[in-house]
């Protein structure tokens, strides 16, 4: 079979199959315990913050110590803006939340961590 290109149809098809196989090979998944450790630490922080009435700056310092810099997000919601409760692990984002009922009214602290 004549082919004016570099490779024939057969060779090109083989190459395409090789690429498809290489792309579809399973990649090693992170261990389930890694996520568990992160969630434990997140829950620990929320419990301590709720107990101590910690301010935002201190929360950021604590989170940097426990989780490392830059891969987390902390949100605080007041009584008027309490969001729907969220505790989930969605793809590469782990979200934990705690409700705090203080004399000044309820508030929610949400901690999100990128895995």
């Amino acid at each position: 079979m004549e082919n004016s290109g570099l490779l024939s149809i057969e060779a090109a098809a083989s190459l395409a199959v090789l690429i498809v196989i290489a792309l579809s090979l399973p990649s090693p998944q992170p261990s389930g315990a890694e996520n568990l450790f992160t969630m434990q630490k997140m829950d620990d922080m929320l419990i301590v913050w709720a107990r101590n009435g910690t301010g935002m700056n201190e929360m950021v310092q604590d989170a940097e110590l426990a989780l490392g810099k830059g891969n987390f997000e902390i949100e605080i919601y007041g009584e008027d803006h309490l969001p729907a409760e969220q505790k989930m692990q969605n793809g590469k984002l782990t979200v934990r939340e705690i409700r705090v009922f203080s004399p000044t009214g309820p508030r929610a602290i949400r901690l999100s961590v990128a895995q």
């Binding site: 079979m1 190459l15 090693p28 450790f37 630490k41 620990d44």
Partner: protein
């Protein structure tokens, strides 16, 4: 043989005239096929090996996670490795994630059969301090964020180091 001849007959005639090994297209296709098979077997083997190792490691990780959970949530005065949480006299209850330093200082190396508690440390902005440390071999550390009850209470990270195969 006419070089422009097309169709199966012409193709096989060309292979016969040169020998299949020297047909570049067939050689490339064959090489790619063999390389694909090698890649599949090598990747599957490596993946299976990693999965087996991970399964073995997971048991130790879950044990360490459970042990750290017990230490920060419970209190056992006789066996502080089972719980060193602070007992609040006023509230008449044990406070989760608040550790009693006096009790934690009594924790020492513990053997649980397959695994053992080999080290306990505290980490904060000033550095890492060990309560005790006999860790060697294949160990993992689970860190927990706690309040340490001492003369002046402080927030810190406690590391529980579990070793064993």
């Amino acid at each position: 043989m006419d070089e422009n001849e097309v169709g199966a007959r012409g193709y096989f005639s060309k292979i016969n005239s040169r020998g299949i090994i020297f047909t570049l297209d067939s050689f490339v296709a064959c090489a790619i096929l063999l390389f694909s098979l090698f890649l599949i077997f090598a990747q599957t083997g490596a993946h299976a090996h990693a999965a087996a190792e991970q399964a073995q490691n997971s048991e130790k990780e879950f044990f360490a996670a459970a042990l750290s959970e017990a230490i920060v949530k419970n209190r056992d005065d006789a066996n502080p490795f089972r719980g060193s949480a602070y007992y609040n006299e006023e509230k008449k209850r044990v406070e989760a994630n608040v550790l009693d330093e006096a009790l934690l200082l009594q924790v020492s190396r513990q053997d649980f059969g397959k695994y053992s508690l080999e080290a306990l440390y505290e980490r904060d902005a000033d550095g890492t301090r060990y309560f005790f440390n006999s860790a060697a071999g294949e160990c993992i550390a689970v860190e927990r964020f706690v309040v340490m009850k001492r003369v002046i209470e402080s927030k810190t990270i406690i590391g529980v180091v579990v070793c064993g195969k």
